[in-house]
């Protein structure tokens, strides 16, 4: 036996099992990209693929990279994707009908060609026997990687730092929208309301708009709230219902309510 073979890497059965379980799952998850119509499903499945890859990394004696993969890709990148999906319309499920003539066939051809070429090359290549990372990882994997990053690659590392900051700033600028008018905050709103009140507006303007439904009696959204004097507050019913004309009229109220309103009316007359 030559010395290289002695140090050669023998993969354990456990790793084999892991691979044959996860690899098909990863491929299926990736295929979701091609066939699913809902973007959120795709994002979730790709997040799954990322986790599978993280597990592969760990199996490949790169635990640091595996965890970093989870933190970076699953925790940040895919989460960013989900955010953007929710920003640009979550419900848009996409039609899978191809609009460009011949595009699909070219894509399939190219894809098959790629697979055949890459797999053919990998299988056909004379690759050395695996060496394994036992020696390189002697001081644990993070330390080994850190030595390289802060040693040999320190300049590239600094550059990627600069790149990240540039990208963050770039994203800020790209998505920045110039505010055309001054922002109206809570305080401004309150001041405006009070000013309106001071100039003879109704007391409703300074308080929070009441929710629909009668306090402690009735909580359906289509019946207006009553103010402190028992008057119905029309603005408490959601705008949508009002536009649709689904507001509850007096005839739809229960007898109890009608009686209450009647009593209130009487009281008002007495007061008056």
């Amino acid at each position: 036996m030559n010395p290289v073979a002695q140090t050669g890497l023998v993969l354990s059965t456990g790793e084999g099992v892991l691979f044959w379980v996860l690899a098909p799952l990863a491929v299926i998850g990736a295929l979701w990209l091609l066939f699913s119509r809902r973007t959120v499903h795709i994002a979730a499945s790709i997040a799954g693929v990322m986790i599978a890859l993280a597990i592969f990394y760990t199996a490949l004696e790169a635990p640091f990279l595996g965890v970093a993969q989870v933190v970076v890709y699953t925790g940040a990148v895919m989460m960013l994707f989900l955010f953007v999906i929710m920003l640009v319309g979550v419900d848009s499920s996409e039609s899978l009908v191809e609009t460009l003539a011949g595009q699909r066939w070219i894509a399939v051809l190219g894809g098959i060609g790629l697979v055949v070429l890459v797999v053919g090359i990998v299988v056909g290549a004379k690759l050395p026997d695996g060496v394994g990372l036992a020696q390189a990882n002697a001081d644990t994997n993070p330390v080994g990687v850190a030595r390289l990053i802060f040693g040999e690659f320190v300049f590239s590392f600094e550059l990627t730092g600069a790149l990240l900051i540039t990208a963050a700033l770039g994203a800020l600028i790209l998505t920045h929208r110039q505010r055309l008018s001054k922002r109206i905050g809570q305080r401004e709103l309150a001041d405006a309301k009070l000013a309106a009140f001071g100039q003879g507006g109704s007391s409703e303007t300074i308080t929070v708009t009441p929710s629909p439904g009668v306090y402690a009696r009735h909580n359906s959204a289509d019946s207006p709230a009553l103010d402190a004097f028992g008057e119905p507050v029309q603005s408490s019913v959601p705008t949508v219902l009002r536009i649709r004309g689904q507001e509850a009229g007096v005839d739809q109220l229960d007898a109890d309510r009608v009686a209450t309103i009647a009593a209130r009316g009487d009281m008002k007359e007495i007061d008056g």
Binding site: V40, A47, V67, M86, V90, T140, G198
Partner: protein, 460 residues
């Protein structure tokens, strides 16, 4: 002797798992599961009892001694309720979301050390009180918490309803933001411990707990821990006044129970991490550790210290919940991004510089380290009190308010005269200055009549 851990400590785990067979691992895993489930049940009771005390009432006290088993019927009730699947929901993800949450919550305890190596009773096997450890264990925890967010996002989205979606977006933003602060707080621990492995971090705190040496990082961690678990004062994703129930609005019964479970396990998780990383893990507190040549740091004793510290943090959670009010969302984000993260960053840089100087020049900088820590705490406090923007605006606003507020009617309080809420035919709340008559229910709390079930649904 320098009390900071030596720089050249091995970066890998400090304990030996080589004797663990697959069966021992399985037993440990099952033990952790059981521990977590029981802890959650206990935590429910613990929280309600404590809140009761804080609010000058009794809390559950009927079922079992001190009402201890109250949580079991409550949990059963929750599970047996009708399981509604919303019509507009995306079924697969709707079901998957709580599963993801719970799954990720359970994963964290795998790397938490409960104690040192012990001999399993009735055998010769020696094994650490810890399921497993990695060179990157704490990073793994961060990754898992990152995954846990998916449960919230996907749950909110898949409900197909507006409030849950808003709640989930808020929650995601919140968790991601505070995860940054948390990660940065942990980085300074990595730097001084020279390792990311939990057992190694515990063993590096032999001399001094990091909560003392790295006080600013500890404070940052405690704050981001509250944000990370969506607990008061940072429970914005489920702010009832604004978002109904947040991302879990459309969940009910078993699926809701899973979210609920995940939330409490997450509390336990962050408490356990805080214990491990900052409070010396299973190590006995100082006067005890000195007794009899460290007797209390060996055998099964450490399990006790660990649990005491863990529940100390749980107590802190409840205390905060009972004491503080909810933040407004912009204040919360402002606090996270403009106070916590800068402070944490500055602290990391300071620690790195100190550590670098220590390693490359051999100067003992212990005193300087303390001075730095004090300065940073001061800075964090100062930043908290700096008004958000131009005090001038505020003064102007106050002036205009005084102008318009001149006409506000003041109501003279009438002594010995109670307000009749039902005077107008329907109940209205009292105006300022009016007094309600003493509640008739006041007497009921001492009589063991009806079980208190009116509260737990709003607890979530």
């Amino acid at each position: 002797m320098n009390r900071i851990a030596p720089m050249l400590a091995p970066a890998g785990p400090a304990v030996d798992f080589s004797q663990d067979t697959i069966w021992i691992s399985v037993i440990k895993a099952v033990a952790i599961m059981v521990f977590l489930l029981i802890s959650v049940l206990f935590a429910l009771w613990f929280e309600r009892r404590l809140i009761g005390r804080f609010q000058q009432r009794l809390g559950p006290n009927v079922r079992g001694p001190f009402g201890l088993v109250q949580s079991i019927p409550d949990a059963l009730k929750l599970v047996l309720k009708e399981d509604i699947t919303v019509k507009g929901a995306d079924k697969l993800i709707y079901i998957m979301a709580p599963v993801i949450s719970v799954f990720c919550a359970f994963m964290v305890f795998a790397v938490i050390p409960f104690g040192p190596e012990v001999r399993i009773p009735f055998t010769d096997l020696v094994t650490p009180l810890q399921l497993t450890d990695l060179p990157v264990a704490v990073l793994y925890i961060l990754g898992i918490t990152g995954l846990g967010v998916y449960g919230i996002v996907l749950g909110g989205w898949s409900s197909g309803s507006t409030y849950p979606l808003l709640g989930s977006v808020r929650s995601t933003a919140q968790v991601i933001s505070y995860e940054l602060g948390m990660g940065l707080a942990l980085v300074s621990v990595f730097i001084v411990s020279g390792s990311m492995s939990t057992s190694q971090i515990v063993s590096s705190q032999q001399q001094l707990w990091w909560s003392i040496a790295l006080l600013p990082a500890f404070v940052v961690y405690i704050l981001s821990m509250l944000g990370e678990t969506n607990r008061l004062p940072f429970d914005l994703p489920e702010a009832e006044g604004e978002l109904v129930g947040g991302f879990q609005t459309e969940y009910s019964s078993m699926k809701f129970a899973w979210f609920y479970l995940a939330e409490y396990i997450n509390m336990l998780n962050v408490s356990a991490i805080a214990t491990t990383v900052f409070m010396g893990g299973w190590r006995a507190p100082w006067p005890l550790s000195a007794i009899n040549d460290g007797m209390f740091n060996e055998g099964w004793w450490p399990l006790l210290w660990f649990l005491i510290k863990l529940w100390g943090f749980m107590f802190f959670f409840v205390w905060v919940r009972a004491t503080l009010l909810r933040f407004r969302y912009d204040q919360f984000m402002h606090f996270g991004w403009k106070v916590l993260i800068p402070v944490a960053l500055a602290w990391v840089v300071a620690v790195a510089v100190v550590q670098g100087v220590r390693q490359f020049s051999g100067i003992d900088l212990q005193t300087i380290l303390f001075v730095l820590a004090g300065l940073l705490v001061l800075l964090a406090l100062v930043m908290f009190f700096i008004p958000e923007k131009g005090a001038k605006d505020k003064a102007g606003g106050a002036g205009s308010r005084a102008l318009t507020g001149a006409g506000t009617p003041t109501i003279e309080p009438k002594k010995d005269e109670y307000f009749d809420a039902f005077a107008g035919g329907f109940p209205v709340p009292p105006l300022p200055g009016q007094q309600l008559p003493p509640s008739k229910r006041r007497a009921r709390v001492t009589t063991p009549a009806a079980p208190e079930t009116d509260e737990e649904n709003s607890d979530g």
